[in-house]
């Protein structure tokens, strides 16, 4: 899926990923390819971007939102 992480200072990450793990207000979730459309608010914690070949990249998150749409695009807004 295509992941886009955006903050007020511009795009922080953009690219093809396998999974995205993050803490939301309703608990920790991992979004994989073709997840059902979801909108959720994020809470303080570390997000993990799982790229191809299982390489992981962590990113600190204060708060924000994520949106998965029908066309396999995941958009994350962070502070």
């Amino acid at each position: 899926m295509n992941l886009k992480i955006i903050s007020l200072k511009g795009a922080q990450f953009e690219g093809e990923v396998v999974g995205f793990n993050v803490k939301t207000a309703a608990g920790e979730i991992t979004i994989l390819d073709h997840h059902r459309p979801i909108i959720s608010s994020l809470i303080l914690g570390a997000a993990v971007i799982i790229g191809k070949d299982e390489n992981r990249q962590a990113m600190p998150i204060k708060s924000g939102f994520l949106e998965m749409d029908k066309k396999n695009n995941l958009t994350v807004l962070i502070d």
Binding site: K4, I6, S7, L8, K9, G10, A11, T24, A25, A26, I29, R36, P37, I38, I39, S40, S41, S63, F65, E67, D69, K70, T75, L77, D79
Partner: protein, 303 residues
């Protein structure tokens, strides 16, 4: 005619000032470009946040109600004044202060920039918070205390309306003072703010064209924890974004106002130094002629 010496010192002074204003002009031009770029970088965020807001608010059939959007009878008003820290920016600050005179009845003031603080304190307004040092490159994090103060006071019913007086950057040569309502939240106004994030003309203007709204009408989303919670978390973010954008725009305006003011100052200095040089040359020539006359006169008298 003025003496050679005093002309010379005046010429030197004018040239020095011209050099300084020229340097300030160049510095402001660079800062202005940076400020515009910062405004542009925050655009994708604003855009996505608005799209999200659209999607979430569509779930509520008969209009979404959030605490920050509650319009109640106005008993107390907060005015946020955004000015610059430093002067020498033409009429940038005076324009803002002229508008403040219409709001002398407001109950609370929050000032951004030293000039606004000095003005409001001098008038005896009730300034509850002061911010400064955002003039060059404001970070979203730095603006947080301002946004939090505005939102907190509204939620605690300290004020029922928040208004911002700041400069709207239209083009480099044209800035105008706008009075905007920040709270209670009006979604239509926030949308307008997002549109304003892109300048009307200049380097970034072409982006204005490809900003068509993509409205895909499905509301088949899972909401976690719930649509209303998502909405009430999203709205404060949008208010923060709006305030951050106000600051960015004021910065771009400040620097372009200063650039224009400094440009006319250095043009003026150039003209003045031309005039003085002419006077100086005339005075010098007059001196030489006088000396020759004296020499010739003496010679004739001696022979």
């Amino acid at each position: 005619m003025e003496s050679l010496q005093s002309l010379k010192s005046r010429l030197r002074a004018v040239k020095n000032i011209g050099q300084i204003t020229k340097a300030m002009e160049v510095v402001s031009a660079t800062k202005m470009r940076r400020a515009q770029e910062a405004a542009l970088n925050s655009r994708p965020y604003a855009f996505e946040a608005l799209r999200l807001l659209d999607k979430v608010s569509r779930v509520f059939k008969n209009g979404a109600i959030v605490p920050l959007g509650e319009s109640r009878p106005v008993k107390a008003t907060l005015v946020i004044v955004v000015s610059s820290d430093r002067g020498l920016a033409g009429s940038f600050n005076t324009q803002i202060f002229r508008i403040i005179d219409n709001f002398t009845a407001a109950d609370f003031f929050i000032t951004v920039g030293k000039k606004a603080d000095r003005f409001c304190s001098g008038r005896g307004f009730k300034v509850i918070e002061r911010f400064s040092g955002w003039g060059d490159y404001a970070e979203p994090r730095e603006c947080d205390p301002l946004a939090s103060a505005v939102i907190d006071g509204f939620l605690r019913k300290k004020w029922d309306r928040a208004i911002a007086i700041s400069t709207h950057f239209r083009t480099t040569l044209k800035q105008e003072v706008l009075v905007r309502q920040i709270l209670p939240v009006d979604f239509e106004k926030i949308r307008e703010t997002a549109r304003e994030l892109v300048p009307e003309s200049g380097r970034w203007a072409e982006l204005r064209k490809n900003m068509a709204d993509d409205a895909n009408h499905d509301n088949d989303y899972i909401f976690e924890p719930s649509p209303s919670e998502a909405l009430s978390a999203l709205v404060p973010h949008l208010v923060r974004m709006q305030i951050y954008h106000l600051i960015l725009e004021a910065n771009a305006s400040e620097h372009s106002a200063r650039m224009v003011a400094m440009k006319s100052a250095s043009d003026n200095a150039e003209e003045l130094s031309g005039e003085i040089t002419l006077d100086y040359n005339k005075a010098r020539q007059a001196g030489i002629t006088k000396e020759i006359i004296e020499i010739v006169g003496t010679q004739t008298a001696m022979t």
